[in-house]
Amino acid sequence: MSPEIDVALVNVTKKFGNLVAVDNVSFEVPKGSFFSILGPSGSGKTTLLRMIAGFEVPTSGDIYIGGQRVNDVPPNKRPCNMVFQRLALFPMMNVLDNVTFGLRRRGGMSKAEMERRAKDALARVGLQGLEKRKIHQLSGGQQQRVALARSLVLEPTVLLLDEPLGSLDLKLRQSMKLELKHLQARTGTTFVYITHDQTIALAMSDTVAVINRGKIEQIAPPEELYRRPATHFVASFVGENNKLTGGRVLAVRPGPDPQVEVDFAGLRMAGRAGEDLAVGDTADLFIRPEMISLRPGKHENGLLGKVSEVNFDGSHSLVVVDLVEAQRPLSLNVKIQHTEDAPEVQPGDVVTLSWRWDAANAFHPVAQPSTEAEV
């Protein structure tokens, strides 16, 4: 095991009776990185985290923390701490006692030293002066910080976070998101963060592992995940997408990044082959709305369309374009940034759409598209 790897899972499987919650998962989390596990609810991500924390025992496979196999180490002896989804602050204690709880358990430290460290941790999360408050006297965001301080004060090798921002309102979530990222950068602690919210995962993480039905779909930095999804599921789950289904592959141009042309209702569309595709295969195509360029009027090299809706949304507008040359009704969403030279369109305008071939990703259709993925 490389010493630079803080958490490693090797072929970890967890079964509850007949249900396979986690299916042969392996990954490594480098030291000091912010690692997210992203998946819809029921995908097994919570089980995965609880196995790292020690609350569940893997059915098979090994878990390493800081280079040590921890399968048989109970949770109170593991060099990792967890921030719980519902925070699990101790309501019978004040803020300071919550934060010193772990230090007191560890012992070997004077009371003054414990308090100094606790105050230090509280200062780091911006909660100076609230030491004597009761938990129920704090706001949601403050409670969030206490939960963080309570774990961070123990200087764990790994901090596990079980979607702790989920219960906050949108504004608070946005600011806590950044704060968490800064905190992680400052402390250098390895974070393993699980969430079903892709905006959080993409914004904060160094690496994101997408998990679906107990299996890892892709492990990659956020940008790669966004631009070059490895599977049909990742493409549909991460980010907004135009999803065209049931096309036929017309041509494949092999290379390091194979390029394909797919026929949808008589229209030829270019894209990147996300997986092995052959001429004649059925394929789905995902195109990011912001990657489509829209030119007013009729042009060569592009798909002719007619604007049916314009939805103004502040910094951008979402334009719905019906592809007029298609043999069956087909439309694409296009996101236009409101820059100085942005085209102005109105419903009924004729426009031409085009995109770089590698802005679209083609996959074999999946037998049963995951319903959660379309949320």
Partner: protein, 282 residues
């Protein structure tokens, strides 16, 4: 008009309860209190009934024995009930939970008298317990388990188990499991989690259960007399003797008031010491 009819409705609902409390609780206590302060013959005001108790070393000793024993049994009941309540609320699966709950409630389908007789069948020298232990080779001749202090304790724990277990279950029910996990995660072991997280959370339930158990023990008569044998004199029997054997309602009332006052004061002190609020606890 609507409000007044609503109010009338409320009173109508309350009447049975007020009658119940008034006739069966307040009125007898007022009478008891009055009787304890008047002389047996003549009926003039006197403190003699109380002085009689305080001057009598035998009664004082029995009173202290009853109080100390009740306290110890309450603690013992807590020790038995707490793990039981914890298992029922936090550990057991659906079926085990139902079984344990039934096991706690079932004894109350028969009277205390029958419970005591059942214990006698089990614990007597020629009883089931003695027989089984002999068969297992643990003891080599019949042993009498009845008529000891520990037999009284056993019987009392049994009769008050439900009243301790249910309130604790009730308070443990509201304990978020993740608090226990969080404590473990932060390095706590079983005992420190119990001491710092679970018990403080369950404190109101423990309080309610202990109060009820203590009162039940203090006022017990049947179990103590039947299982205790020759050394079982309990303060309630002294009260019984005053009313029934000596036909002395006034001393009996005084003794009852003493017992009642003691239990109220004791509970109040315990609440103060443990910084619990009864209304909060309930």
């Amino acid at each position: 008009m609507n409000a007044s009819s609503k109010r009338r409705g409320l009173w109508l609902v309350l009447i049975p309860m007020l009658l119940w409390i008034g006739l069966l609780f307040v009125l007898p206590h007022v009478k008891l209190f009055y009787l304890s302060f008047v002389s047996r013959r003549g009926g003039e005001f006197t403190l003699a009934n109380y002085l009689y108790f305080f001057k009598n070393p035998l009664y004082r000793r029995i009173f202290v024995r009853t109080a100390v024993f009740s306290t110890l049994v309450t603690l013992l009941t807590l020790v038995v009930s707490f793990p039981l309540a914890f298992i029922i609320t936090k550990v057991a699966g659906k079926r085990l939970k139902a079984m344990l709950l039934l096991a706690v409630i079932l004894p109350y389908w028969v009277s205390e008298l029958i419970q005591a007789f059942t214990w006698m069948v089990l614990l007597r020298e020629s009883g089931v317990f003695s027989y089984l232990l002999q068969r297992l080779g643990i003891i080599h001749h019949p042993v009498e388990f009845l008529y000891h202090d520990y037999t009284i304790a056993l019987g009392l724990v049994y009769t008050s188990l439900l009243f301790m277990t249910i309130p604790i279950m009730n308070s443990l029910d509201t304990l978020d499991d993740s608090l226990i996990e969080a404590a473990y995660d932060l390095g706590a072991n079983f005992w420190s989690t119990l001491r710092e997280i679970i018990i403080p959370h369950a404190a109101p339930g423990i309080m309610v259960g202990s109060i009820m158990t203590f009162m039940l023990n203090l006022g017990n008569y049947v179990t103590v007399t039947l299982l205790g044998g020759k050394n079982s004199l309990w303060f309630t029997e002294i009260i019984y003797n005053q009313f029934i054997i000596r036909f002395n309602q006034n001393k009996g009332s005084a003794f009852s008031v003493i017992l009642l006052t003691f239990s109220v004061v004791f509970v109040w002190i315990v609440l103060k010491v443990t910084k619990q609020d009864l209304s909060e606890a309930m």
